[in-house]
């Protein structure tokens, strides 16, 4: 078994792809106001990052061709299952009702046109975090369908994910055994770091790692994992090499100022090893084998990494999404044992 935990089917647009899945009100709104073109600024379709050149379909958005995706992910990478994470602007619009309507449409579309087409596919429920109550509604609406195996949010939103107003979302996710998938990408509300808005997309993409770190700290220090002990968090497309140094610093600072968060009763790194998982692409590690060995040793757990190709994003060349130099025991864990522990619903339906 080999579970690819992060692939990206492409969506053409609101007035095309999503129109049949919108209710009458939103159909009318979308058409009469020409509400379309919600591709995320984080992933412009023409960017090399957004699609490896040999995976770019002749027409249409990256990842939008089912046959290409299926041939590459299942035949090419040898995946037995793959989890679809749709990155489209529903998560970034300002109107919470529009956000919820578009999320519903995306989730119904992926179920009808992708999951129904190939029993090896799974998907994340795209959540409208602009309105946590509507995000809970969306989880409840789709959770009965076991092909949905996680709940998807962007790494950079309006408020940090640990804040209490999001907790009902986590209660619902935990109840339905859905891990919270935090994927790189931004609503573009705040600059990606405290130093301000960068000039280049390259800088912005590099900064995604820090956004994931900020979300982890928020979730841990606000006490989300104490309140929802069965909740798992999956960082998707976050990179992994920042993890050890981040854990050291999180532990050190917690030791110094834990008086401020008395409900965090264990070192943050211990909480991370129990609750947090990361997909392996982009594999942003040292270039040499000794460095990779060191890094794996520093992470200190063989349970945290999850296999992913990040198809069709361009993260690696050649045909093997598993980076060279990883020990075979770890490969085995990250391809099947770890994903099955993290996404228990994957097997519930297979």
């Amino acid at each position: 078994m080999r579970i690819d935990c992060d692939i990206h089917p492409g969506l053409e647009g609101t007035r095309t792809t999503l129109l049949p899945y919108l209710d009458d009100h939103w159909k009318e709104q979308v058409v009469s106001r020409a509400i379309d073109g919600l591709d995320l600024t984080s992933y412009p379709p023409n960017l090399p990052l957004s699609c490896r050149s040999d995976w770019r379909p002749k027409t249409g958005k990256p990842g939008s061709d089912f046959d290409m995706l299926s041939a590459q992910v299942f035949d090419g990478f040898g995946a037995s299952h793959a989890i679809c994470n749709v990155l489209y602007g529903a998560q970034a619009v300002y109107d919470p009702y529009m956000a919820a309507a578009f999320c519903r449409a995306i989730n119904d579309w992926i179920a009808a046109e992708w999951l129904a087409r190939d029993p090896r596919l799974r998907a994340s429920i795209v959540l409208p975090m602009q309105a946590p109550d509507l995000a809970v509604e969306e989880i409840e609406r789709r959770a009965g369908d076991l092909r949905f195996v996680s709940a998807l949010v962007l790494a950079q939103g309006e408020t940090l994910l640990g804040r209490r107003h999001f907790w009902p979302v986590y209660a619902a996710a935990e109840r339905h055994k859905l891990p919270l998938a935090i994927h790189s990408g931004s609503q573009y509300r705040m600059a990606p770091s405290s130093i301000g808005w960068p000039s280049y997309r390259l800088e912005y993409y590099i900064a995604e790692a820090q956004a994931h770190q900020a979300q982890l700290l928020s979730l841990i220090l606000e006490g989300v994992f104490g309140k929802y002990p069965a909740l798992k968090v999956v960082l998707m497309e976050s990179g992994i090499s920042w993890l050890p140094a981040f854990m050291w610093r999180a532990n050190k600072t917690w030791k110094g100022v834990r008086v401020e968060v008395p409900w965090v009763e264990r070192p943050p790194a211990d909480i991370m090893r129990d609750h947090v998982r990361l997909t392996i692409q982009p594999f942003d590690t040292p270039p040499d084998q000794a460095g990779i060995d060191q890094l794996i040793d520093q992470i200190g757990s063989d349970r945290m990494l999850l296999f992913s190709s990040d198809y069709p994003h361009w993260q690696f060349d050649g045909c093997d999404p598993i980076p060279p130099g990883l020990p075979s025991s770890l490969i085995e864990r990250m391809c099947s044992t770890n994903p099955l522990e993290t996404f228990p619903r994957v097997q519930a339906n297979s």
């Binding site: 770091s193 301000g196 960068p198 997309r201 800088e203 590099i206 900020a214 050890p244 050291w248």
Partner: protein, 373 residues
């Protein structure tokens, strides 16, 4: 205060032990004003009145304290309050007694945080107090204590005043670096700040970038955190982002003689951000043709990092790996005296270092960056 932490009480035993015979260059010491009135002597009547009436105008919610309450008063070690009642870091004789003498500090580089000169919204006021602070460092610290060195603090958002201040101070020969903040209106690599780099390079002074400041942006890309614990961690993110900005905007390419020192950001984050830059640069090269070489090469040649807050992995060998990844010649010891997360030179490095390596981190690396006259 005999019960605090793991350091000896230097007031009762002010003699250095054998391990500290190594002369130390401490690249991050925080002197403080005992009161705001103390800076008045260096300000014109107009700005004295302004300070009294209007005060700071910073992009923070409170007038008289930090946005996130710290874990101890004034961010300071609880044993750093001088017996004479002055504020921590404001009393030179006590700084000598508690830090400079027992730690065998050969040179100490001052980093002034008072009055947040980098973050003042009123740029004229900012320019007036930056000049005052730069004068105050010489007058009240460097003149009476020859081991201390001053930095030229400049608020980069008033670029014109910053350049004038660099030129005014540099000709005195009494300053060791130019300091800017990682947090300002725009990322440090943006072109609007390049005249500052041009002036620093022309003056032959390194650029020091100390964490902190209020640039008006949320501390994280996902918004404002709830706790000091989180905000403290974002210091590391701010310098990682500043490093990215400087390299990817091509600043070292444009100003090849300029040396950059990141101060109080720690260094554990450096290898990962460097690998990350290299990896993604390969796929974005068309966007940044001015970045001619892999980003890691610029980092290795143009950037240095002070060591505090030292990383404390459970396994000391992991720290060793990080040091080797960055390059042992790139690390400059710093204590952050008198702040609560102070690193004591005797105990901070929990990984084995040879005498030659200790000499580099605690002394000679700093000499390769700074000129100590």
């Amino acid at each position: 205060m005999a019960d605090v932490l793991d350091r000896p009480d230097v007031r009762s035993s002010p003699v250095a032990d054998a391990k500290t015979r190594l002369k130390i260059i401490d690249c991050d010491i925080h002197p403080s004003l005992n009161s705001r009135a103390e800076i008045g002597a260096f300000l014109s009547k107009r700005w004295q009145d302004h300070l009294k009436t209007y005060g700071d105008h910073l992009r923070v919610p409170f007038t008289s304290t930090t946005p996130y309450p710290r874990s101890s008063p004034l961010i300071c070690r609880r044993d750093a309050w001088p017996p004479n009642g002055r504020l921590p870091g404001s009393d030179l004789p006590f700084m000598r007694l508690q830090h400079l003498d027992p730690l065998n500090v050969e040179f100490g580089i001052l980093q002034v945080l008072d009055l947040f000169i980098f973050s003042q919204q009123n740029l004229e006021f900012g320019a007036a107090i930056q000049r005052a602070i730069n004068e105050w460092q010489l007058e009240c610290w460097c003149k009476p204590e020859p081991r201390l060195r001053a930095s030229i603090l400049v608020g980069q958002d008033n670029t014109e005043a910053a350049v004038a201040e660099i030129e005014r101070c540099a000709v005195t020969g009494k300053y060791i670096q130019v300091n800017v903040s990682p947090r300002a209106n725009e990322p440090l690599g943006r072109r609007r700040y390049w005249p500052i780099y041009e002036a620093a390079q022309a003056a032959g002074l390194p650029l020091g970038i100390h964490v902190g400041g209020y640039g008006g942006h949320a501390p994280t890309g996902g918004g404002w955190p709830s706790y000091y614990n989180e905000e403290h961690h974002t210091n590391a993110h701010s310098v990682a982002a500043a490093l990215t900005s400087l390299v990817i905007e091509g600043v070292p390419e444009r100003f090849p003689k300029l040396k950059f020192v990141f101060i109080e950001g720690g260094f554990g984050w450096v290898p990962a951000i460097t690998w990350r830059m290299d990896k993604h640069w390969q796929h974005f090269r068309d966007e940044v043709p001015h970045v001619k070489r892999p980003p890691s090469q610029y980092v290795r040649e143009h950037f240095w990092f002070t060591t505090q807050p030292i990383e404390e992995p459970d396994n000391a060998h992991h720290l060793r790996a990080v040091i080797e990844w960055i390059g042992i010649d790139r690390l400059l010891f710093s204590s952050d005296y008198p702040h609560w997360d102070y690193d004591d030179a005797r105990f901070a490095f929990k990984t084995p270092l040879t005498d030659a390596e200790r000499l580099k981190i605690f002394n000679t690396n700093a000499r390769a960056v700074y000129t100590f006259n």
